[in-house]
C-alpha cells in the first residue's frame, strides 16, 4: 500500500498523459482527461502527504531490488510538501488552460504535455537516486521544450532557442557530474552516497569539490540564480499564459529543490559551499529585482521577479554556513516555507496576468489602464497576490520573508539580511508599478469591448489567492511541517532511514 502511495503522484500524470494522447482526435476527451487527471494527481499527492505527516516517510524500491541496488523513491516531509503544491498547480493550470489556451494548441497536445511535465516534476521530487533525478529533469525539460514552442510564433521560437540551449547545457553538466560521482563512489543512490561520498572526500577533497561545482552550475542554471538566469526573462513571456504560469511556478523551483536535497546531503562538507550559495543568493535577489524595475512588459516584470525570489530560497540554503544547529534548521525551514508560498503566489500572478491581457488587449503596461473599474474583483485578487509576493502582512509572503530574515539575523549575516530587505522593498515598487499602470490609472485609449471572463480562468485565480490568504492566516501547520522537513534534510542518517537503507531495504 505504501508502495502505491509513493508511486501514484508520478503514475497518475503519466497515465493521464497517455490517455489524453490516445484520445487526441476526440473533440472533448483530452480536456476532460486533462482536468480529471490533474484532480486525481492532487488527490494522490494529498494521500501521500497525509501518510507522510501522520505515519512518517515512505519509500519504495522499484522492481523489488533492495537499497542501494534498486531504484528508490522516497517521500519524506520535504518531498510531501513539494508534491502537493506541484499537484495543486497542475489543477489550477489545467482548468485555466481550458479557456486560455487556444484550440490549435489544445489539439496539438497541450493537456498531455502538461501531464508529462507534471510527471517529471513529481518524479524529481520523489526520487532517491541521482541518475533518476537526471532522467526526471529530462522528462520535465522535454515536455517544457514542446510546451514553450507549441504554436510556433516568432517570439516563442526565439525564446525557445535560448531556453533549450541553456537547459541542455545544464543537463550535460549534471550528467557529467553524475558520471564523476559514480566513478568516485560507485553508487548513485542518494542515501548510499551520503555514506560513501564523505569517504571519497576524506581522500581527495578536490575531486568532491569539483563535482560539487558541476552540480551547483547545473542546478543553478535550472533554478535561475545569478549569473545563470538570463534564459528565464528571455523566454517566460512568450508562450500562452497557462504554460508560462506552470513554468513560473514549478520549473525553477525543481532546481532549488535539487540544491536543497543534494547539497546538504552530499556536499555539506565542501569548504565554503554555503558561503558561495549565500553570496550567489544576495546577487540573485538584487539582480532580479533591479531587472524588474526597468521593465514595462507585465510578464517580463514577473519573470525578473522569479529570479529575485529564487534568491530568497537560496539564501535559506546559504545560511547553513552557520555552525548553530538551531539556526541551520530555522534557515532551511524558512527556505522550504518560502518555496511552497512562492509557487502558489507566482503561478497566480501569471494567471492574473492572462486575464489582464484579455481585458486590456496586451501586456505592455503603458498601454493598459482602468482595469480597477472594469474588473474590481481582479484588482483585489491581484492586490492579494502582489502583496503576498512583496511580503505584506498578514499574507503568506510576510511569514516567508520574516522567517528568512529572522534566520539571517540569527546567523548574523547582516549584508544578506540587508539585501533581502532592499529586494523586498523593490518588489513592492514593481508591484505598485503594475497596480498603478494596469489597474489604477485611467485607460489611455478606448477600452476594448470584452466579454465576461470565462469561469475557467477566474476559478483557479480565486482558489490560489484563497490558498495564499489561508497560509497567511494559519502559517503554523506549514511552518511546523517545513521545520520537520528541514530536520530530515539536515540529518543524513534520518534521510537514510527514510529511504530504507538501514532497514535492509524492501518497501
Amino acid at each position: 500500500m505504501t508502495d502505491l502511495l509513493v508511486v501514484l503522484p508520478v503514475m497518475v500524470p503519466l497515465a493521464s498523459a497517455a490517455l489524453g494522447a490516445a484520445a487526441w482526435r476526440a473533440p472533448r476527451a483530452p480536456r476532460v482527461v486533462g482536468v480529471a487527471g490533474a484532480a486525481a494527481g492532487l488527490a494522490a499527492s494529498l494521500a501521500l502527504a497525509h501518510r507522510v505527516v501522520t505515519v512518517g516517510p515512505a519509500a519504495t524500491q522499484a522492481g523489488g531490488w533492495p537499497v542501494p541496488f534498486g531504484i528508490t523513491l522516497v517521500a519524506d516531509e520535504l518531498s510531501a510538501v513539494m508534491v502537493v503544491v506541484a499537484a495543486l498547480m497542475g489543477v489550477a493550470v489545467a482548468v485555466y488552460g481550458l479557456a486560455e489556451v487556444d484550440d490549435a494548441r489544445q489539439r496539438a497536445g497541450f493537456f498531455p504535455l502538461v501531464h508529462v511535465l507534471l510527471a517529471g516534476v513529481q518524479g524529481a521530487f520523489l526520487t532517491g537516486d541521482l541518475f533518476n533525478l537526471y532522467v526526471c529533469f529530462e522528462v520535465m525539460l522535454m515536455a517544457s521544450f514542446v510546451l514553450l514552442a507549441l504554436g510556433g510564433e516568432r517570439p516563442q521560437l526565439e525564446g525557445a532557442l535560448t531556453y533549450v540551449t541553456l537547459n541542455l547545457l545544464a543537463s550535460a553538466l549534471f550528467l557529467a557530474g553524475v558520471g564523476l560521482v559514480y566513478g568516485a563512489a560507485h553508487t548513485l543512490n542518494l542515501a548510499d552516497l551520503s555514506l560513501r561520498l564523505p569517504e571519497v572526500a576524506a581522500q581527495s577533497p578536490a575531486l568532491v569539490a569539483g563535482i560539487a561545482g558541476l552540480f551547483l552550475a547545473a542546478f543553478g542554471i535550472k533554478a535561475g540564480v545569478f549569473p545563470l538566469y538570463a534564459w528565464l526573462p528571455a523566454s517566460y513571456h512568450t508562450p500562452p499564459v497557462a504554460v508560462a504560469a506552470l513554468f513560473a511556478g514549478l520549473l525553477t523551483k525543481v532546481g532549488v529543490y535539487a540544491l536543497i536535497r543534494v547539497v546538504p546531503l552530499l556536499f555539506g562538507g565542501v569548504d565554503g559551499i554555503y558561503e558561495l550559495l549565500l553570496w550567489t543568493a544576495v546577487a540573485t535577489m538584487l539582480a532580479g529585482v533591479v531587472g524588474a524595475v526597468a521593465q514595462f512588459h507585465l510578464r517580463r516584470v514577473l519573470g525578473f521577479h522569479i529570479v529575485s525570489q529564487i534568491g530568497y530560497m537560496v539564501m535559506g540554503l546559504g545560511l547553513l554556513s552557520s555552525p548553530h544547529p538551531a539556526v541551520r534548521r530555522m534557515a532551511l525551514a524558512a527556505a522550504v516555507f518560502y518555496i511552497a508560498h512562492h509557487i502558489v503566489v507566482k503561478t497566480n500572478l501569471y494567471l492574473i496576468g492572462g486575464v489582464v491581457r484579455r481585458l486590456g488587449g496586451g501586456e505592455e503596461l503603458k498601454a493598459l489602464g482602468g482595469l480597477a473599474v472594469v474588473a474590481p474583483w481582479l484588482a483585489i485578487l491581484f492586490g492579494v497576490s502582489a502583496g503576498s509576493l512583496a511580503g505584506i502582512p498578514p499574507l503568506s509572503g510576510f511569514w516567508a520573508k520574516l522567517a528568512i530574515v529572522r534566520a539571517g539575523l540569527e546567523a548574523a549575516e547582516w549584508w544578506a539580511v540587508a539585501a533581502a530587505l532592499v529586494a523586498g522593498l523593490l518588489t513592492l515598487v514593481s508591484m505598485v508599478k503594475i497596480w498603478n499602470e494596469a489597474f489604477w490609472k485611467p485607460a489611455p485609449g478606448q477600452v476594448a469591448a470584452t466579454g465576461p471572463i470565462p469561469r475557467a480562468m477566474a476559478a483557479p485565480i480565486v482558489l490560489l489567492a484563497g490558498v495564499t490568504v489561508a497560509i497567511g492566516l494559519l502559517p503554523q501547520p506549514l511552518l511546523a511541517l517545513a521545520e520537520r522537513a528541514a530536520e530530515r534534510v539536515l540529518d543524513p542518517a534520518a534521510y537514510r532511514a527514510a529511504s530504507g537503507l538501514l532497514a535492509g531495504g524492501g518497501g
Partner: protein
C-alpha cells in the same frame, strides 16, 4: 587507454564549447550533440575501463570474480544516449523552424526576446 579517453573527452568538450559560442544556430545544435557525447564518454571512462571481462557470474556463484567490467555506467550511458537522441531531434526541428520563420541562422539577429 585512460589517457586516450581523457584527451578525447577533453577535446569533445572543447569542440562543443567552441561550437556553442558560434553565432550560427545550426552549429549551436552540433555543439549540443558533442556536449552530450563528451558527457557520455566521461561516464563511460569514470566507470572504469576493463577489456574482455564481462560481468558474468559462474553457475552457482553469488558474485562474478573481481576485476570484471562494471555494467552500470554502460546502462547509464545507454539511457543518456536515448535521451540525447530525443532532445537533439527536437533541437534540430526547432532550429529548422527558427530558420524558416526568422529567415536567418544568425543568433545575433534574434531580437524580439532580448
Amino acid at each position: 587507454m585512460l589517457i586516450v579517453m581523457a584527451v578525447l573527452v577533453g577535446g569533445l568538450y572543447a569542440a562543443a564549447v567552441y561550437l556553442l559560442l558560434r553565432r550560427n544556430v545550426v552549429k549551436l545544435v552540433l555543439g549540443l550533440v558533442l556536449l552530450g557525447h563528451a558527457a557520455n564518454l566521461l561516464i563511460f571512462t569514470a566507470g572504469g575501463l576493463v577489456r574482455g571481462n564481462p560481468p558474468l557470474a559462474a553457475v552457482g556463484a553469488a558474485a562474478p570474480p573481481p576485476g570484471v567490467a562494471d555494467p552500470v555506467p554502460q546502462a547509464l550511458v545507454l539511457t543518456a544516449i536515448v535521451i540525447s537522441f530525443a532532445v537533439v531531434a527536437f533541437a534540430a526541428v526547432l532550429v529548422r523552424r527558427v530558420v524558416e520563420v526568422l529567415g536567418t541562422d544568425d543568433a545575433d539577429r534574434l531580437r524580439t526576446t532580448t
